[in-house]
């Protein structure tokens, strides 16, 4: 399945890239399916497959946060791991705060209104420097339409979410999360380069430090909810 030698498996086990759950007395190594999936596929593919799937199935528990407190605990763990990476010494908090905003948005804006599965796909691969988040919620257009009824499509809604102060949690006059994410990725000078892919419905946006004009594009595969990938 992995097509690597036993020496490579031993090396990965020692380095933590692919840790076995146990080694039998005869030397057989046992692995979690989710860990093997992380090696054979990237986390973005796993997130996209889950959010695009016509059937609503809970993802592997390793990647799944059923509620906000679970997400908070895992975000704490991610933050600790990021702090160990020397090149992120000055900038780790930009990444953890962005992830916090995107992940918490999923819970805040879908509270009591999840169309099928409640919860958040949240996975990270620190070797590939990727973090993926996805939810099967209502998506940006539906939540923003509550306070901006003139929005007609996902593209308009996505642009509004990243550029205007607006909240889908009427009557609260709040909602700076994605504006903050854009500021961190695009506007603030940092030691690292951040890149964000964010899709909701049939619209997606890609941001990095070279972005000058925000351009929303049409996605090939529309999805219910939101899908995000952060590269650092």
């Amino acid at each position: 399945m992995l097509n690597v030698s036993i020496q490579t498996l031993r090396r990965w086990d020692q380095s933590g890239r692919l840790k076995s759950t146990r080694v039998s007395p005869t030397g057989y190594r046992f692995y979690k399916l989710a860990d093997i999936q992380l090696i054979t596929k990237n986390i973005f593919s796993l997130a996209a497959e889950w959010v695009l799937s016509p059937s609503a199935i809970e993802p592997d528990s390793q990647f799944f946060c059923l509620d906000g407190p679970t997400f908070q605990t895992r975000l704490n763990h991610l933050e600790i791991e990021l702090q160990k990476i020397p090149e992120l010494k000055n900038d780790f908090s930009f990444i953890s705060s962005m992830v916090g905003e995107i992940g918490n948005n999923s819970f805040d804006h879908n509270l009591g209104s999840w169309p099928d599965i409640r919860g958040l796909f949240f996975a990270y691969d620190l070797n590939k420097k990727q973090i993926a988040l996805a939810d099967r919620g209502q998506g940006i257009l539906t939540t923003l339409k509550r306070v901006r009824s003139t929005l007609i499509n996902d593209s308009e809604a996505l642009l509004t979410a990243f550029t205007e102060k607006i909240s889908g949690r009427a009557p609260e006059n709040r909602g700076n999360g994605l504006k903050y994410v854009k500021k961190v990725v695009v506007d603030i000078k940092k030691d690292i380069i951040l890149k964000l892919y964010f899709q909701s419905g049939d619209a997606f946006i890609v941001l990095d430090d070279k972005t000058t004009n925000l351009t929303v594009k049409q996605a090939d595969s529309p999805l219910q909810g939101c899908l995000a990938l952060i590269n650092f």
Partner: protein
């Protein structure tokens, strides 16, 4: 009055937790807005607008120029303060 945010946690990102943190503090806050409130960010490692908006914005609204922020060197703290200032059209006083 000194509010040490580290007592609420080091990673402060959730809107719900920001709201709960302010509610937990509500009975200790001065009734009059003439007393100085100092919010200390020492040992806060990650901060974001959701938590900040629920906690700092109501304090700023009530205590205005008597609200002071200190130890705001963390990059996410700085960026969050900026975005709250831009969106709420206010200026926080940083010690």
């Amino acid at each position: 009055m000194l509010i040490e945010l580290k007592k609420f946690g080091n990673l402060l990102t959730s809107r719900q937790l920001g709201k709960e943190s302010l509610a937990a503090l509500a009975s200790q806050l001065p009734k009059e807005n003439t007393e100085k409130i100092i919010v200390d960010f020492l040992e806060v490692t990650t901060f974001s607008p959701s938590w900040g908006d629920e906690f700092l914005s109501p304090l700023q609204q009530k205590y205005q120029n008597n609200l002071l922020l200190k130890n705001t060197d963390n990059p996410s703290v700085k960026a969050t303060i900026e975005i709250l200032e831009e969106t709420n059209k206010v200026k926080f006083i940083v010690e």
